[in-house]
C-alpha cells in the first residue's frame, strides 16, 4: 500500500502541481517532508501522457451513460495501469486532482476531496498572494515559476496529510 505521487492539473490542461514521493529506506531518517521531488516533472512527457489518458477516459465515461437516466453526470473515479491505480477527482472548476498509488488501494475519493476542500482552497484560493490562474501566457514562457503551485504551506500541509494516511506506506 503506497502512494507514489500526487498531481494537480488546471483547466488549461497544465500540470500545476506535481509531487512524487520516494519510498526508499535511506530517505526515511531524513526530514520526511523533503523526501521525493516537488514540481520537477510538470512538463515531462509522463505528465502529458497522464493527462491525455485522463481526458480520453473522462469523455468516454460520460459518453457511455445516458445523461437523462442519471441525475448526476457519470464521473471517472480510478483506473489501473499495470501495477498502478490512478485515482481521479475533478472539481467544478475543472481542476483535476490525481493520486497515483498501489493497485490494492480501492477508493481515495474522500482523500482527494479533502485535498481540494481543505488544502487547496485554504492555501491557494483563500491566499490573496496566490495567482488565480496558473496558466503561462505565451509571452511569459521564460518565467515558468508562475505556472506552478510553489506555496510552501500547501506543499507542507498536503505532505503531512498524505503521509499521515495509513495507506501511505
Amino acid at each position: 500500500m503506497t502512494i507514489y505521487s500526487f498531481h494537480i492539473f488546471d483547466r488549461h490542461c497544465n500540470c500545476i502541481y506535481n509531487r512524487e514521493y520516494s519510498h526508499s529506506s535511506s530517505d526515511n531518517n531524513n526530514n520526511s517532508t523533503t523526501v521525493g521531488i516537488v514540481n520537477k516533472n510538470n512538463d515531462s512527457n509522463g505528465s502529458k501522457l497522464l493527462f491525455g489518458i485522463l481526458y480520453s477516459l473522462k469523455s468516454m465515461s460520460s459518453k457511455l451513460i445516458d445523461e437523462e437516466t442519471s441525475p448526476i453526470p457519470n464521473a471517472l473515479k480510478s483506473f489501473t495501469l499495470g501495477k498502478f491505480r490512478i485515482h481521479y477527482f475533478e472539481s467544478l472548476t475543472n481542476l483535476k486532482f490525481i493520486l497515483i498509488t498501489d493497485i490494492n488501494i480501492d477508493n481515495l475519493q474522500h482523500i482527494l476531496w479533502e485535498l481540494y476542500s481543505n488544502y487547496y482552497i485554504k492555501n491557494c484560493i483563500q491566499n490573496s498572494l496566490s495567482p488565480i490562474e496558473f496558466k503561462i501566457s505565451d509571452d511569459l514562457k521564460e518565467n515558468e515559476l508562475t505556472g506552478k503551485i510553489n506555496n510552501h504551506n500547501f506543499i507542507h500541509q498536503t505532505d503531512q496529510f498524505l503521509q499521515s494516511l495509513s495507506v501511505f506506506n
Binding site: 480520453s56 465515461s61 445516458d66 448526476i72 499495470g82
Partner: protein, 183 residues
Amino acid sequence: MKVYSIYILNKAGGLIYQNDVNPGLNRLTANDYLVLAGTLHGVHAIASRLTPALNGRDTTNPTESHSNKNAAILSTGKVQDANSNKSGLQSIETDLFNLYIFQTLTGIKFILVTSPNPVVHNLQQINRELTNRGELSKQYDQANEVFKHLYIVYSDYVMKDPFYSLDMPIKSSLFDMKVKEII
C-alpha cells in the same frame, strides 16, 4: 457483477464485435462505438508507454523466475497466461460502470463493461486486515474469469469458423448464443 456490454477489438483497434447483454449503457451510433474502440485502443497504447519501468522489474532474479515458470507450465500445461495485458490499461472505475480490458497474446482486446462495485472505504478496511487485497483487484479477477470463457468461445466458434475472415466484424449467431450462455 452485472455485465452490461462486451466488445471485441482487433489488433488494429477496430471494433469487430459488440454485444449489449444487459441494458444500462447509453445507446450510441455505430460510428460512436468505433470511435470509442479506437480511443480505448489508443489509450491502452499510451498507457503502456507510461509504465515502462515495470516491465524490467520482473526479471531481477532470472533463475528463480525460470524455475517458477517451469513449475507453472507443469501444473497448468500453459506456457503463458492468456492475458498479455500487463502494462497497459486494465480497468476503469466510474460512478456508474466498470470497464475491464483483456488482451490476448495476438493483440485482440476483449472489453467488458459491468455494473459498478459498491463503494468501499479503503482506510477502515486496511486497519482490520493488512494483507487483504483490494476489493477492486478481486473484481478484476472475477472479470478475468469471464474473459477466459469468452476467449475459449471466441477460439472455438469464431476462429474455427471457415467463413470468418480475420480482423473482420464477427457475425456469427452461434457465437452470439455462446456468449449469452456465459453471461
